[in-house]
């Protein structure tokens, strides 16, 4: 068995009385796409914080390609190949959409600036933002800000891509385009963890689905099976998956 590209070992995290992670284990294989669902406040975003280095776990280890990165800075992890989008978009509002990608590429992918230009435009094209390349990022609508989150994460040239709710608010047509994009990224060799409430888009794009609840993964397996499992029905009682 080959080594997972990313692994969490016995990760625990609490905020005061709220336990968001109770000794969580997780392994992401190279090329794999993993989906995470769970009720609001389950700790999904916090888990991304722990992987990307913005949140320190109380205990446990984060491994990237087998080496311990639990104490590595977010910048270092990004340069190693962990790219992340933010659920609440955090665009660099004072610069253009294009520059948002250039800076991510120059630092996250360690590209010389001139060599980054072409790939940044290509990414904008793929994410549907090319027409807005010269716009100040601060002028974008929420939907475009979400697109920018994905585009900027891609500009860092990630080996592992962490997507936090990028499908919300998209039309059916746009959602299909997103699913296509993510499939194409996977064919390009990127491993993905995707947190998403838009379950049908998620299920169409991933290999494996995990359900986070009360600080632990209560289900893990084939997406279609997990979605129909009684545990999931119980958590989402009354909330029909919008598939």
């Amino acid at each position: 068995m080959s080594m997972p590209i990313l692994a969490l070992e016995k990760i625990s995290k609490r905020f005061g009385a709220i336990v968001v992670a109770a000794s969580i284990d997780l392994a992401l294989d190279k090329g794999e796409a993993l989906g995470i669902i769970g009720p609001n406040g389950a700790g999904k975003t916090t888990l991304f914080g722990i992987v990307s280095g913005t949140v320190a776990p109380d205990s446990g280890r984060v491994l990237y390609e087998g080496s311990d990165i639990t104490r590595a800075s977010p910048a270092r992890r990004c340069a190693m190949g962990i790219g992340r989008s933010f659920q609440i978009p955090l665009p660099f509002t004072g610069m253009s959409v294009f520059e948002n990608l250039v800076v991510a590429s120059a630092f996250g992918a360690r590209r010389r600036e001139r060599e980054a230009y072409q790939s940044c435009m290509d990414i904008l094209e793929r994410c549907g933002l090319a027409e807005k390349a010269n716009r100040p990022a601060g002028s974008l609508t929420l939907l475009d800000r979400k697109r920018l989150e994905l585009a900027r994460a891609l500009a860092t040239d990630p080996a592992v891509l962490l997507l936090d709710e990028v499908a919300g608010g998209l039309t059916e047509y746009e959602c299909q385009a997103l699913v296509e994009l993510i499939r194409a990224l996977r064919r390009g060799g990127i491993s993905i963890i995707w947190i998403e409430h838009v379950v049908h888009a998620l299920v169409a794009s991933i290999d494996r689905l995990l359900v986070l609840h009360n600080g632990a993964f209560i289900a893990d397996g084939d997406p279609a099976t997990v979605i129909r499992s009684p545990q999931v029905a119980e958590i989402y009682l009354g909330i029909e998956a919008d598939a």
Binding site: S52, G53, T54, S73, P74, A75, R76, C78, A79, R84, F86, L90, P91, F92, T93, G94, M95, S96, F98, E99, V102, V103, A104, A106, F107, G108, A109, R110, E113, Y117, Q118, C120, M121, D122, E125, R126, A130, E131, K132, A133, N134, R135, R152, A155, T156
Partner: protein, 343 residues
């Protein structure tokens, strides 16, 4: 994507090119000042350049890197003292001592950064001020340079700059102009580089910046050191022109920080052009109000308050927002090869 068009990236626009040409013409006219101006004019202009440079550097530090230092007089004084030390103790020509003073000050700034960067927010500001006080006290202990009462540049050193007084005035003037321009160009280039983008990114969202691969601390330390180096060279030049140095003058918080902050804030913090406009306003005020004594300082305070209330982004902020215009644009614009500029 196979059908993607070639990407070209530019900073300038038509308006900014015209402005740049006008700026260059202005610089040429100023460079010729030794031929049209008197000794007083040259000295006043050199002082203006020094303040424009100090304010531009402080603007880089506080406006772009968010490092609100009230202790940059530490480097003005350090640079000045280094120049005197290198000239008096080692017999180095002042014109050589000037860049050397900058480099050494940049080196000194490294361990100082290690100290003050442990402090956050207001404490950082206070820390920088304490460092400057420590530097001042240290300078007053150096008896070889006159201790607390200071010292003068020996006549032999003054003659080493240029044999005649008129030529010396011209040389010092050109050095002042060249130094200010070099600092301005260096700041523009820095802000146009990836580090400029990193500074903006950090300002907009530190978390997202870090997760995009930017080492926040490293970037800020880099700016701190570059600023220290430039500030020290300006300090060295100011006291080379004065020919006399003392700890109180060289490490004056009033002259090298209060006025500089005033200039930057009224001109427009966080914009390249701001400190330049601010310097012009400051000197106009000073030349017209200087006879008023203390009242002059109170007037400066009133102007600062008025500007902060009516135009918090400074005078240049007003201009830039009204006309969407800058002389030194820092934004990249994508132009595709088929000639279409994207909106």
């Amino acid at each position: 994507m196979s059908d993607s068009k070639r990407v070209r990236v530019v900073f300038e626009s038509r308006a900014s090119r015209i402005a740049l040409v006008l700026f260059a013409l202005g610089v040429i006219a100023l460079a010729a000042a030794p031929y049209w101006g008197g000794r007083d004019d040259l000295q006043l202009l050199a002082e203006i350049y020094a303040y424009a440079a100090l304010a531009s550097l402080w603007n880089l530090l506080a406006g772009y890197a968010g490092l609100v230092s009230v202790g940059q007089q530490a480097y003005v004084g350090l640079g000045a003292y280094l120049l005197f030390a290198l000239a008096i103790l080692l017999g180095l020509s002042p014109l050589w001592a000037l860049p050397l003073a900058g480099i050494i000050s940049g080196l000194v700034a490294m361990p100082v950064a290690g100290l003050v960067f442990r402090l956050r927010g207001h404490y950082f500001a206070i820390g920088t001020w304490i460092v400057a006080e420590v530097f001042r006290l240290a300078a007053s202990q150096v008896s070889l340079l006159g201790g607390g009462s200071g010292t003068s540049l020996p006549a032999s050193m003054i003659i080493a700059i240029a044999p005649s007084r008129a030529l010396r005035d011209a040389v010092e003037y050109w050095v002042a102009l060249a130094l200010a321009l070099t600092i301005l160009v260096a700041i523009v280039l820095l802000l146009r580089s990836r580090y400029g983008l990193a500074l903006k990114a950090i300002r907009d969202s530190e978390v997202a910046a870090r997760c995009s691969g930017i080492d926040v601390m490293r970037t800020k330390v880099l700016v701190y050191i570059v600023t220290a180096c430039g500030t020290a060279m300006v300090g060295a030049l100011i006291f080379l022109q004065r020919l006399r140095i003392s700890p109180d003058a060289a490490f004056s918080v009033n002259d090298w920080t209060a006025f500089v902050i005033f200039i930057t804030v009224i001109g427009g913090i966080g914009r390249i052009e701001g400190p330049i406009i601010g310097t012009i306003i400051f000197f106009v005020l000073r030349q017209t109000l200087a006879d008023l004594g203390t009242l002059y300082l109170m007037m400066l305070g009133l102007v600062a308050i008025a500007v902060m209330l009516t135009a918090p982004k400074g005078v240049w902020g007003l201009i830039a927002e009204r006309f969407g215009f800058s002389v030194f644009p820092l934004e990249r614009r994508v132009i595709l090869d088929d000639g279409t500029a994207r909106k």
